[in-house]
Symmetry: C2
Subunit: 194 residues, 2 copies
DNA sequence: GAATAAAAACCGACTGGTCGGTTTGTTTTT
DNA sequence: AAAAACAAACCGACCAGTCGGTTTTTATTC
């Protein structure tokens, strides 16, 4: 079918991830992207309307993986889900160094660009609701103490984001994976019924 | 003396804050800055060696205000200090919308630019140590339960940063000031001796 | 299944414009 | 008058996006 087309598109996508994370959205020019992907500028603009369009495609793909992860943990109990997340910490912090700057870039773009904000805010709300529901489920199941699910959700997400940010700022300043594990333990300890 | 010179410098500085926050470091050109400040490019490059030099000057000034705030609360007890911080929440969240994007920009630049990273990481370590010492003081004073000050410090800072980030992402998604107050209450409640 | 037509994918030189920084010259301060 | 502060024209590099033309793939006809 359009096998070559698919290949080109994915070459652009992975070059974009690579260059956007290392040099940033602005610093990585379309020419750079094309050179790295080994394609021409014409091919690039055949697949993406603009540079921002590519950016949005990247965002989409990234949100998709989160949706998949959520889907995969749908039938677990609340404490089990938290355990799953904890188990993913080593992988998360290992890959944070490459992926996080781009994540920050998304944030920055979203705070200034209406189109990107719209594309980000909906999934953000979806994830927040999912997480809140998860905590509420834990409370209803009787495994968590009576907390405000909404508030607790905001807190947990905050802690996670803050830890990731700090680990980006100062990767060698602490054993971040350990800090994350102990923080989670502390949070869960306060959440679990004794 | 060099009164006019001082004036020009501060005009550049405040225009930089204004334009960097609204449009971003890259998008705000030196020409834009000069136009906004009402000066010429010659004047700009008389005061700052490069655009990045201006950026670093901004960072310096901002770190100075933090140092001042810390200095001003040096003789308070640990719980009193936390109270002070809580009282500052309304102001912090009010001004977050303008200042935060620039803060994020600092972060992003720091993660990619050795010079800016060096200028950021030292104060970051200083603040972390100060905060850790504050918690240790609270434990020693007997007002806090026995926690790991290092870990607790990382957690509290994470929560604060995460809340600020979320409020940037979705300013109207929650009453962030209220979430912050309740989160603090929750954290302190777990910290204070009963 | 070979020939042909149509469509999709791709190429790369080119454009209009921007940007960080420099240079040269003028005004102001001391 | 010397030095510091500022103005304005200028420079070369760069960059997102375009466009006319070419190659490859797919669909159609015989």
């Amino acid at each position: 079918m359009q096998q070559r087309s698919e290949e080109t598109r994915s070459k652009i996508l992975s070059s974009a991830i690579k260059l956007f994370s290392t040099h940033g959205y602005n610093a990585a020019s379309v020419d750079d992207l094309c050179r790295d992907a080994g394609i021409s500028k014409g091919a690039f603009y055949h697949h993406f309307k603009t540079k921002q369009d590519l950016f949005l495609a990247l965002l989409d793909g990234w949100l998709q993986t989160i949706d998949n992860a959520i889907e995969a943990s749908k039938e677990l109990t609340a404490p089990e889900t938290f355990m799953r997340i904890t188990e993913a910490f080593p992988y998360i912090f290992e890959t944070a160094g490459e992926g996080l700057p781009m994540f920050l870039e998304f944030w920055l773009q979203a705070s200034r660009d209406e189109k990107i904000w719209q594309a980000s805010i909906k999934p953000y709300h979806r994830y927040h609701k999912h997480f809140t529901a998860l905590i509420k489920k834990g409370v209803d199941e009787g495994s968590f103490v009576e907390v405000d699910p909404e508030l607790t959700s905001r807190m947990i997400v905050s802690t996670a984001m803050g830890l990731l940010l700090q680990s980006l700022m100062d990767p060698k300043g602490a054993k971040w994976e350990k800090v994350a594990r102990e923080s989670t333990a502390m949070l869960i300890d306060n959440l679990l019924k004794k």
